[in-house]
């Protein structure tokens, strides 16, 4: 059991009205919640790191709740999600993989019934490193209009012995989505894919 030591939390909300085309009736909103935490495994190789996934579950839930609040408080408007991690230079990529389960658990818990795998990415990086967090539809990974990404990063994080953990949610398709493919209205909803 490791204490989860949070140094800072950042919330970013984008409200997109148009991108040169006709303004949407409802603007697209994308939000990210980033937590900068101490990496308990920084500086040396540790074989058994898995218990830290359980330690991170309350943080994943708290961040997910913050995300929904940042988008207005109603989980029903969330249509896309993604997650990511940047591990500071004294850690290893594998430490970022610890975020998969608790990050996904937190978002599913607040969204209820989300079927699709949570798109994710991770890297090792220094303070100010940027991460393009992939975003896909919460019920069907193949919905093409919802393939998106949100770039995040914090100027002073992660320090060498820290990890930056990210969760992202969006409220709809890309603002001028018109590249075809599976539509959200055609989701079968059986396998999380289509």
């Amino acid at each position: 059991m490791h204490e989860v030591r949070v140094r800072k939390i950042e919330t970013i909300v984008e409200e997109i009205f148009h991108e040169g085309g006709p303004a949407a009736t409802a603007p697209l909103r994308r939000a990210a919640v980033l937590a900068v935490i101490h990496n308990p495994f920084a500086g040396g190789y540790v074989e058994n790191i898995q218990p830290f996934m359980d330690d991170l579950r309350p943080l994943g839930l708290e961040m997910s709740k913050r995300l929904v609040a940042a988008l207005g408080g109603d989980a029903k408007i969330v249509e896309g999600y993604g997650k990511g991690a940047i591990v500071g230079s004294a850690g290893e990529l594998e430490h970022g993989a610890l975020w998969h389960a608790p990050g996904g658990y937190g978002m599913r818990e607040v969204l209820g019934g989300a079927k699709a795998i949570v798109a994710s990415t991770k890297k090792v990086g220094g303070p100010g490193a940027r991460l393009d967090v992939p975003v896909t539809h919460i019920h069907a990974s193949y919905v093409r209009s919802h393939f998106d990404a949100m770039e995040i990063g914090i100027a002073d994080a992660p320090r060498a012995d820290e990890m930056l953990l990210a969760l992202v949610m969006s409220t709809g398709p890309r603002i001028h989505a018109r590249s075809g493919g599976l539509k959200a209205s055609d989701i079968k909803g059986e396998d999380g894919l289509r």
């Binding site: 030591r5 949070v6 140094r7 800072k8 939390i9 950042e10 919330t11 970013i12 909300v13 984008e14 409200e15 997109i16 009205f17 148009h18 991108e19 040169g20 603007p27 940027r130 770039e151 990063g153 914090i154 100027a155």
Partner: protein
């Protein structure tokens, strides 16, 4: 009169940022230091040409001063009067002039900021630049009632990956409910503010 002539900003997107610092060097920051920034990506009506009269941008500054301050304060979940420090900044896309940032930031933006915060006797610290997509803005921060309050000298970096495009301007306002985390370099403190001249 068209919207443009009236100085109505053509906003492509608005992004808000909230930072909550809970610990620094392993020490608890109590209460957490919190600061927010709201940024609008707008069309630059004067991109690619020299225009002498910048009144339209000044009016846009007035509009955004109120809008962005209200967004930042709402993001912090506080009343405007509880805000402690503030700052403003703009980044002009490559087809614009630095003077376009100046026209937005300086003549008319401050009054609605102060109205949203209840007061604000101090100069609103500012920075401006020209740059490409994703350029970082370091928004300077200072105490809103007394510019010399040393614990509140600070800065907040923000950036928007897809802005400013060549014909756009990013305009940002930052508001805090506190000074630096673990501030301890002396100087005028907030409880010593006289509040007469906006300086001390």
């Amino acid at each position: 009169m068209t919207d443009e002539a009236a100085g109505k900003a053509k906003i492509r997107k608005i992004v808000t940022f909230v930072e909550e610092t809970r610990t620094e060097m392993g020490r608890e920051v109590k209460p957490p230091a919190r600061r927010a920034a709201a940024a609008a990506v707008i069309e630059n009506p004067f991109a690619g040409k020299f225009v002498e009269d910048l009144t339209e941008l000044m009016n846009i500054g007035e509009e955004l001063g109120g809008l962005l301050t209200e967004r930042a304060v709402a993001a912090l979940g506080i009343s405007g009067a509880s805000a402690e420090s503030y700052g403003k900044a703009a980044a002009v896309g490559e087809n614009g002039e630095i003077e376009h940032a100046a026209a937005i930031l300086h003549p008319k933006l401050g009054a609605p900021v102060r109205k949203a915060l209840g007061e604000g006797a101090a100069l609103i610290p500012s920075s401006k630049k020209r740059g490409g997509l994703g350029v970082p803005l370091d928004i300077p921060l200072g105490h809103k009632d007394a510019a010399f309050v040393r614990s509140h000298f600070d800065g907040m970096e923000i950036r928007i990956a897809d802005a400013p495009r060549a014909n756009e301007i990013v305009v940002a306002i930052a508001v805090t409910d506190s000074g630096r985390p673990l501030a301890r370099v002396g100087g005028l403190t907030k409880d010593q503010i006289k509040g007469e001249d906006g300086l001390r």
